[in-house]
Amino acid sequence: MRASAARIALYVVSALVLVYLILPVLIIAPISFSSARFLTFPPPSFSLRWYQQYFANSAWMQATRVTLTVALLTVVIATPLGVSAAYAISQSKLRIMRVIHMALLLPLVVPIIITAVGIFFVYAKVGLVATLPGLVLANVMLGLPYVIISVLAGLQSFDPAQEMVARSLGMNRLRSFFAVTLPQIKSSVVAGGIFAFISAMDETIVALFISGGQYQPLTKRMFTALRDEIDPTIAAISTLMTAASFVLVLLATGRRRRNA
């Protein structure tokens, strides 16, 4: 009898926690489609005015272009760097590789606010503050761990003997990697790249310190706008960003599962 009471309590508590987790994600879309200037729930009537405001505003559009450019360049640079580093980590037996592996995961360990301020000081010296290359470089660094973790996981289920066979048949190391290894870890490479893209798209804190002028990403403008007043335009942007993230995550995990 007591056991079943405990079971019911377990179900109820877990259900409430799941509601708490999901509610904020679900609440934004209805706000973004509301006609009201101020938050009222349920929304008085359906409207696309906040989406119109977003697409008609040149500052928001410029910020969107910056975000997309930075995220794409981040993927293009971080993916090959991360793949080659992950390959080196998984193949090499050198003891220093363990240290390098740990160093490459540093962006996950150091609190992001510290990284942000440090990069700001360095950029200030070399003139990279408020530039596109500066923003891209910082996001490459932040995205690397995601690529490396994803590709290492892919390489773990790959049998290196296959590459040995290819090499014993006369392929050089580079060709055997592209012909034998890469096709088999393709989905974890794509997943890593997608995670790096999402990381760059959502990154806020480093951008707050080092971005400026015409090279401000969406998140920086959103943060500034949120500090001043709650404008439902942000709900529209948030809904679009969330939708983009979910589509990308589905792509990444879908590919992974098919591979497994």
């Binding site: 007591r2 405990a6 179900y11 877990s14 926690v17 799941l18 708490y20 987790l21 999901i22 509610l23 904020p24 994600v25 609440i27 934004i28 706000i31 938050l39 009222t40 729930f41 760097l81 080659s84 580093a85 080196a88 193949q91 090499s92 050198l94 220093i96 390098i100 160093a103 490459l104 540093l106 962006p107 360990v109 150091v110 609190p111 992001i112 606010i113 510290i114 301020v117 440090g118 700001f120 000081f121 360095v122 470089l137 910082a138 660094m141 798209m201 806020t204 804190i205 707050l208 998140t219 949120l226 500090r227 709650i230 942000i234 709900a235 948030s238 960003m241 969330t242 993230s245 979910f246």
Partner: protein, 270 residues
Amino acid sequence: MLALASPALLVILLLIVLPVGWLAWQSIYHDGFTLENYRRVFTEDIYWRSFALTFEISLAVTVIALLLGYPVAYLANALPKGWSILILSLVVLPFWTSVLVRAYAWLALLQRTGVINQLLRYLEVTSEPLALVHNTFGTVVATVHILLPFMVLPLYATMQKIPGDLMQAGASLGASPSLTFFRVFLPLSLPGVLAGCTMVFVLCLGFYITPELLGGGRTVMVSMLVSRNVELYNQFGAASAVAVVLLLSVLAIFFVVSRFISLDRILGQK
């Protein structure tokens, strides 16, 4: 092999090791060596009060996340596969929503004219709107929300490795379900508890967006101290010293915890 890892390593060295080293240098050097910045951090009221508040909030967030996360992980582990996939998807879903977007959602939910206050008034629970945000409460609610996946995932991973036979063995020997839970299951899940708590606590120590947007300016966590010293007061030395103390706290926690469980276990979940 080293050559293959070096481009990535170069990025890490230039963009995180060098900047953090620079901070450390700047915290002790300004026209000569000085410990003035550290003296201020450890003696001036505003600094140590912010550190105390940050540790208090992080501790509260960790405890709440554990209390909320444990039942969810337990249920996901106990239910058949289809249900556990559903539960875990719901846990990870917010994880892939921008922190900024979620901070906005909590503002919309918790503010005086927000969804929750409107609902409470409609149900005639309250007559005046409650102050749910722009204070420590709002900060904690939103921060727990963001960090909860970091608690549930390591817990679930650890529970998966506990053999189900052990519970049956306990039951067959006549122990009640609650006794087998407390004497067998709970102790075996402790490595997951430690991994989850470490990750949540450490991430919370450096949190910036939620206290800045939902704290109403009164909840000054250490990260805000760093940013204000840079942006408002141009006190680069003081900002660097605060950052170094924060980083050393984080590294010390990782070091102590790594004596008990492997670091891969804490970091590998992400």
